[in-house]
């Protein structure tokens, strides 16, 4: 097979770009030059085998999680995916819901093992693993509508926030969604946890209405882990009451995840309307919506 191997590049601003098949990582760390070299080298080395390992376990990772027995996966990234999705199994979920976040977490952790870094983010197409040393902080902009990239606000991550990951899901994103949210952004202790939760909250922002067009997942992607579930392919104008109903359903789900300590906060948006779930004082208050 003449597959393209992992691509390694440097982006302006001292960022590292790792790309292999669907995985596209933009990484930036702050530290001294020697630590940066070590951390970027560690990320590049680990990245060589990430996609190959995932591809080898795709059949397992595309199976819905049910029952009481945790599936056993071989690769560390696959284990992260299963662990992050496991608490959500009361509803339909497969480990694929956390794939992007799990890859980001894995790369962040190998970088932190190799060197001491002041700040670090590993951005895997919008699902971001972060690390902030005491006394430092990292600001992440929140853009609710990918079509009109204007920043709604910022999430400031510091070492006391407990935030290890930020992820966004929505029907416009690159993964299928059962719901109608434009974007659900979640902050959680890990990127994999945020990724899984964002998927589930976005799925919960749901209504049945003729303005919502859906199609079976397999009709779009024959290999989709969602099988014959109806995924959103278009959302026309929704009545205001339904929009609010959908958002409130999502908010309710998010609050449940927050009280179970699975997430630290969430921002839900649908056609300009927003819901925020999270502690009253803290990082999410710093969003100026």
């Amino acid at each position: 097979m003449n597959w393209q191997g992992p691509q390694v590049g440097e982006l302006p601003g001292g960022r590292l770009h790792l790309q292999h098949g669907p995985i596209d990582l933009v990484i930036k760390a702050e530290s001294d030059a020697d630590s940066l070299r070590k951390a970027y080298a560690a990320a590049t080395l680990r990245f060589q085998t990430v996609l190959g390992q995932l591809a080898a376990e795709l059949p397992l990772l595309r199976c819905p999680l049910t029952g009481e027995t945790l599936p056993l996966a071989a690769s560390p990234v696959a284990r992260r995916m299963i662990a992050a999705c496991w608490p959500h199994r009361a509803r339909f979920i497969t480990p694929m819901a956390a794939v992007a976040g799990a890859v980001a977490d894995e790369i962040r952790d190998v970088m932190l093992e190799s060197a001491s870094l002041r700040t670090l983010y590993v951005n895997n197409g919008g699902d971001i693993a972060v690390h902030v040393a005491p006394g430092e902080n990292l600001r992440i902009g929140v853009v609710p509508d990918p079509g009109t990239p204007t920043q709604m606000g910022q999430i400031t991550v510091d070492s006391g926030s407990g935030i290890g990951g930020i992820a966004t899901s929505g029907w416009r994103g690159r993964s299928f969604s059962l719901g109608v949210a434009d974007a659900v952004t979640v902050v959680a202790p890990s990127a994999a946890a945020a990724d899984a939760a964002a998927t589930m909250i976005a799925n919960a922002v749901s209504v049945n209405h003729s303005a919502v067009r859906r199609a079976p997942a397999f009709s779009l992607d024959p290999d989709s882990d969602l099988g014959d579930l109806a995924v959103t392919v278009g959302v026309d104008a929704l009545p205001t009451s339904l929009r609010r109903e959908a958002l409130d359903a999502g908010l309710h789900h998010a609050q449940g995840l927050a009280s179970a300590r699975l997430i630290l906060g969430a921002v839900l948006t649908l056609r300009g309307e927003t819901r925020i779930c999270g502690p009253k004082a803290g990082y999410l208050e710093r969003l100026d919506s």
């Binding site: 097979m1 003449n2 597959w3 393209q4 191997g5 992992p6 691509q7 390694v8 590049g9 440097e10 292999h20 098949g21 669907p22 596209d24 070299r37 080298a41 590049t44 996609l51 190959g52 591809a55 795709l58 690159r174 009709s219 779009l220 992607d221 024959p222 290999d223």
Partner: protein, 503 residues
Amino acid sequence: MALTDTHLTERSAKFGAAEGNEGIIRCDACPVLCRIRPGRSGACARYANQDGMLVRTDPVVLLQQAVETGQSLVPFAEGAIEWDGAILNPARTFVTGIGAGTTYPDYKPAPFIVSQEHDGVDTVTVVTEGIFSYCGVKVKIDTDRHLGPEAAAIRVAGEQVGHVTTAEYGSQMLSLGGVRHLTGGSRKEGNVTCDTLLRLCNGEAVELTIDGGHAVIVEAGKPPIVDGKPESRMRVGCGSATVGIFAKQWLGQVDEVIVVDDHITGVLTEHQAGRVLDMRPAGIRVRGRKSTPGRYFQVANPGMGWGGTDITDPLSIIQRIDPAVAWPGLRLLLTSTTGEDAQWCVLDKDLVPQPAAMPAGVRTVVDRIGDNCEPSVCTVLFMAGAGGSLRAGVTENPVLLTRSVQDGTTRVTLGGAPAMLWPGGGITVMVDVTRLPKNAFGYVPTPALVAPIEFTLPRALYEANGGHGAEIIPVSEVVRTFGGAARIEPMPLRNPWPLKAGG
């Protein structure tokens, strides 16, 4: 946009395999092996299924020849073909290798084999992106400043990516990349080298450090920045040449001129130029090794001071002043070869040079040295050997391609830019990276650079030489099927039209 051309449809077999009867293609670009339905892209969004063909979503670049100056494309009323408001005339469109993709293994035909008529002759251009392990860049830096000793290692992020090579007149030369740094050293050395070459070729600035020398930021077409200081001028010539050029203009205004230069420092009254003007010997002996009268080698060490030397106090260049020859009141000018540094002195009664305000007439001549210097720029030439199996994608009989390139029948362009062909065996080419469209270069993790390359030759010769005749697509077809999706760029006016013989 329906892709109907049968040749184009056949191309899909090179990249993916049809599966079942629902138009699904299995993409084999990466281990995920996505099965992609028509009209959708794979998980990476880089490959898509367009009506049963697996296509790259990165656009191929078409160069459009403008008939008038200016950036805008010039539409043609006659025979024009419309695409979303943009009009492309096939007769004036050149398909470049940028974004064309590669085929591996190479024995498969190149991604595009395009036929086009030029001056009544049916020509074929074979368009591909080559993967070059044997490649590098030659950098010319117009400065006399000492950057580092010849053969010194050049490093990026601590890794050696090349070396300082033979200096040229007014310029320092660097040789970067090459197969030994790309694949002959550590993996890191290879990756850093590949990244350095890629950035330089795509017109980005790269900071290089030279062992035993200095740090220089190189960007194609821009002045070099040496140890944080942007360079503005090339020297007008060596110190001796400067004396020769300006001797007559100094006559009557000065008694002696010393032009400080790392290569040859010139002393006016000793120099042939001063003798011819009957100037009185001044008796000021400079340091260094005398070459011929008024011309001195090695007056100081190379450095960041005057004229590419390490001199910062110009009077330190004077070894002694002969009291039997010099006289009080002698007017002495010291200048560098760019006119950036200059000092006016008058000898006092003890024959010690005393700095003084420079007379306006002398200042005019010093300024003229600067005016005659050309702007200092970095030029980056990409150099690569296309002699490998890449040729098999062009023709079934590769040596015939090599020979026809060598005898000039087949023209080689890179992204439409003319390539200098190094005589002798193989297809070794050099191209000025600023003449290619933006971001024309890529890389593979081997590591090696990916560069567009096009071979243009008469169709009859192509077919006679064992070319992939069945793969030839008319350019009109490429324009019709890819025009809407391609990146369309105006042909740089300073490049000759790639199809033109002798261009």
